[in-house]
Subunit: 274 residues, 2 copies
Amino acid sequence: MQTSPAQAPATVEAFRARLAEISGGLPKRLRQCAEHIAANTDRIAVSTVAELAAGADVPPSALMRFCQLMGFSGFSEMQKLFREAYSPGWPDYATRLENLRKGQSGGPAALLAEFIEAGRASLEMLARTTDEAALSKAVSLLGAAGTLHVAGFRRAFPVASYLTYVLDKMSVPAMLHDGVGKLDHRHALRPGDALIAITFAPYSEETLAIAADARARGLSVVALTDHLTSPLAAHASAVITVPEVDFGAFRSLSATIALALALAVAVGTARSDR
Amino acid sequence: MQTSPAQAPATVEAFRARLAEISGGLPKRLRQCAEHIAANTDRIAVSTVAELAAGADVPPSALMRFCQLMGFSGFSEMQKLFREAYSPGWPDYATRLENLRKGQSGGPAALLAEFIEAGRASLEMLARTTDEAALSKAVSLLGAAGTLHVAGFRRAFPVASYLTYVLDKMSVPAMLHDGVGKLDHRHALRPGDALIAITFAPYSEETLAIAADARARGLSVVALTDHLTSPLAAHASAVITVPEVDFGAFRSLSATIALALALAVAVGTARSDR
DNA sequence: GCGGAAATGGAATAATTATTCCAAACAAGG
DNA sequence: CCTTGTTTGGAATAATTATTCCATTTCCGC
């Protein structure tokens, strides 16, 4: 361990700085402490050594060592810092958003506030409008298929890649059609496979083409799109729609990502049972 | 003393109600307690009996009696209420997901509900914890740079690709380092450019390597990561952290996506003004 | 003022929580 | 494979903090 100064941080900022400073090249247990503390700084004021240690999954003594490494004489001294800095509950979500918004309109923080709000609204709308039957149908189609093909370009590409990533993590054979090198991988679509096609207005030609092709070959096609009237719906065996609120010209992806995650996990679970 | 029910309040509201209920016709010392507690409710979570008693100018035993009058078995039980209420909604997200996993309660729709909830919680946490200064710094660094390089693999790849997409839409020259063909595009990093590196635990080696390389070449590096203790932080000129509800391999990306969008739009705007 | 009931303060004890210490496990280098 | 230095877990101890108890005081109606 290379660290030295052993001067106890006197403010929360100094604390964070010191944390960043020491967190290179820490042994396993101490690193676990550092990470858990970094992620739960706000809980220090109201927790005991044992609680925090349990959260970090280390014995209490390791956490003690960590406190000393940070420059404090022990946990109590460290906790004192946070108990004093403790401001009456945090500003709640609404207040904080308000503050972010107010800060020099147009600044990054104000923008962020808008996008957070848009994302939250999208998620709520998704919760209200999900068609459970369509979702179940999609899961059963995908659960029964061979390889899963995922197609999505432009704005839908992050969703497609995420979906593929999670499917892969769950040991589901999945192939991302990413259009690299203008290869369309058309012949990878084999009988018994299924396609998940993702596109939103303005609908991408490539995605529609792949969907039409898959359909023609008799594959199941699951559509992830914005409306039931989407041109993609015509080619699909199951259509899942995702409402997404936009702010200005920009459309958040929060709801779509959440849906993709749920879909992937549900399919992964279904397939591991079969 | 006229009081009776002796049912411990289970919420902060119930606590306040009970406080109002008993505070008529209290003897001197107990009234002092009630008043001090009413005025300093928020400090209960982080104080000892002795401290609060001193604040109310009564002996500890008086405060003890007050707690019992409120319906608690003692001070500790009362404090527990406030310590738990402090980080709202958090206590046991992981456990809920765990239950969901083994209890298969309701299939895909229930799963979706959980991920929506996780996404919403992540967004709220993001609103509460954003470091505005770091965000502004990142925007100004990126606004002043030449080409922007974006690096993120695995779980971070969807974010990287989305960021690149939005930057491109805003006419900002941006290059996604996607690792296709194992090319590392090292020489594309030219003086005056900047790098946006994205990685979460377990941190991807490739991303760290690119960041270190960019740093060595004198480029500005903006890190998008999970904690300040992330190894990525060591290479970065600005570190933006995103809290995200994380359960095993399943990380809701809602907050990260929202942040990426805000960052891209802010940078795009800044650059169009210059 | 007197008797009884309620309230009070503080000292004694119990419980919890922090902290230290050391033997064992481990890793790196010869 | 052994040696040396570091890291680790847990049991032992120290310190703090909560809680109880009771002798003393205060209050109030008579």
